[in-house]
Amino acid sequence: MTVLKTAGLTKKFGDFTALDGVDIEVGEGEVYGFIGPNGAGKSTTIRVLLGILKATEGQATIFGKDAWKDAVEIHKRVAYVPGDVNLWPNLTGGEVIDLFIKLRGGNNGSRREELIRRFDLDPGKKCRTYSKGNRQKVALVAALASDADLYILDEPTSGLDPLMERVFQECISEAKAEGKSILLSSHILSEVEKLCDKVAIIRQGKIIETGTLKELRHLTGTMLLVETKEPMPQLHELKGVRGIEQKDGALSFQVDQEELDHVIRYVSGFGIVRMESAPPTLEELFMRHYEGAGTGGAV
């Protein structure tokens, strides 16, 4: 069942097109990774989904309801953590958490205490004294303490230390185990790799790749590290071979999935001494999309 769906979502600010036909779909119980560099349109998409910005064109629906018109109804079942957490300097973290829980309409006292302990937060301090990471913890505790069906998290770990990042990942895994849906925007790819079932990559307001991690890897190909007795003079001319690099007397390169058979046949002709293969990391996938198409203006 689809929990969240956008279709042809477009948002213009004057002449500037921030979102250009964004299509994403989060199914029930799914953790959906939303990745892209700064300014690609991740936060704008999320703000449209929250009914804070009005879409210029296209539809955004959550639980089958219109994100703009039925914002209040939808928000009763949604928990949100913004990317840049600004809090009221003269309220304490504890007060803000309580307020946020009440604004959603829930009440979950024991969960609150447990999360405050796990995230190691001092709720008695005024928000003005909190660092970025601590403000993020306030927003995370408030979001995770609520019994929501959909969590929308906009770069929630950008200010957390590695220890707290792990706590966060545990919490997300728990939520997933309970059948909750999660939209996780991030540019920390290892985190997305660890947590997400599906990934969408956004660049300059357009979704350029979407699918399960497996599908995306399939699309990109395999990393090969090959050491041969004789040099391979024509390797760089072969179809589907990219990013050849010299590494400890061996060559490392990437091969497109459909050309793999062809390339292995070629390589084996030079006497293989050592060969390692690995699926590409999300980072490589990401870099390929951004470096390769870096100048192609889609705006």
Binding site: K54, P82, E95
Partner: protein, 534 residues
Amino acid sequence: MDNHYFSGTGSLSRFILRRDRIRMPIWIFSFVFATVVIAVAFIGLYENAQERQTIAATMENPAMTAMVGPGYGLDNYTAGAMMAHQMLLMTAVVVGLMSVLLVIRHTRTDEEEGRIEMVRSLPVGRLANVTATLAVLFLINIVLAVLTGIGLYALNIESMDLEGSFLYGAALGATGMVFASMTAVFAQLSHNARSALGLSIGFLLAAYIIRGIGDVGNGFLSWFSPLGWIVRSEVYVNNLWWPILLTVGAAVALGGLAMYLNSIRDLGAGFLPARAGKVHASRFLQGPFGLAFRLQRTGFIAWAIGMYVLGASYGSVMGDMESFFADVEIMKDLLVPMEGFSLVEQFVPTLMAVMTIIGTIPVLMAILKLKGEEKNGRIEHVLGRAVSRNRLLGSYLLISIMASFVMLSLAGLGLGTVADAMMEEGFDVAMAFQAALAYLPAVWVMIGLTVLLIGWLPKFTGFIWLYLTFSFFVIYLGSLFQLPEWVEKGTPFGYVSAIPLEGFDWLQAALLTGVAAVLIVAGFIGYNKRDIGN
């Protein structure tokens, strides 16, 4: 200069001027323009000396002294003397306000937003920012002084000589400087921009009120207020320069104090103690209304006390007025008493108008807080949860309307209760209360206009302050002499029944309320349609 403290001051000063290249010229131009236009208006309205002498007689009235400062040169009340006596103090207060706002903006606000931290990470001296801010503020106040002097002298009016014109400008500039320095001191004492702003504006109001009490009494208290000094420069009559020197001297000394305090404190810290916080939200802090109120609670209470004190200080001079009118035979002929009203009562509408416009400031601040929240990116926490835009805007609107009732009531009660205590004949407290509440519909129109701006033109919400300033000058001047009627009708405050002189005009009040309601509804429609952003 010592690099350790002042390195980079020059660049930062230029940077501040660059940041405010629009804001500062607008302030300066507004003051020079308003001053010159008002001077011309004064000349046009009282053409002969006899008319001016008539007004001079009313200036000895303690209520006027409390409002504009002690009269001087009243036996030969020239156009220049009249203009300087009636306008200098009020203009100086607004110049002081400009300095307060600009200094907070470039000191504590920048510090709170983390911008000073970035600047300080560069090879920049510890005191460079506060020094640059004060240098720029002193500079623009000097420019203001000179331009005002030139502007007044250029009118080529006989009683406005060169020295007097520049003294008038210098009095404004000096006031701006001393409040700039005082604000810089408060910016060191407080932990955050908001309380620094509150303290500074509180100091400005206190300076005005203490001077008023002093001027009406034996003058002793006036020495404790910079505003009490500058009204003693007797511009266009005796042209005394010592108040300017005293004020500028105080500005320099306070500036030095601000620098010293800045040098011994940590970035982000203040000297006034911060209290430990609560771990849980109180039962009151449960929704957008509780939040909106909680955020403004301190300011709200401070303004409420301030309004009562303002009303009380006007009320306290009522007793003096009574004996004054009894003593002066000529006044009885001049101000023909309206049937059934004492002479004192005739001043009630004027005082109430001035207090209402001051009381509108916290009312508008209450609703504009929502805009500030949006700008700081904190609205999405609320709208991202199960809170509708109507409920959010409605919460701030409700606080604003509550504030209008509280502020006006307290001003009216302050005036009434203290006047009743001070006057032999007693004073009708209920009447003062009614006179204050008569202004409510006009204040609601101002609220409505603000809601409309928030809904449709959020970038231009600052316009409401310009309109309030315009209203203030129109009403204030309208009370001093007859302005053309259409000017007074350009502000909602021009449609209010002058209680007790007039009966309460229900139709007029209903119309104002209707206009306010339409503006509010229109504002809500806009707010539901637009993007929320920062």
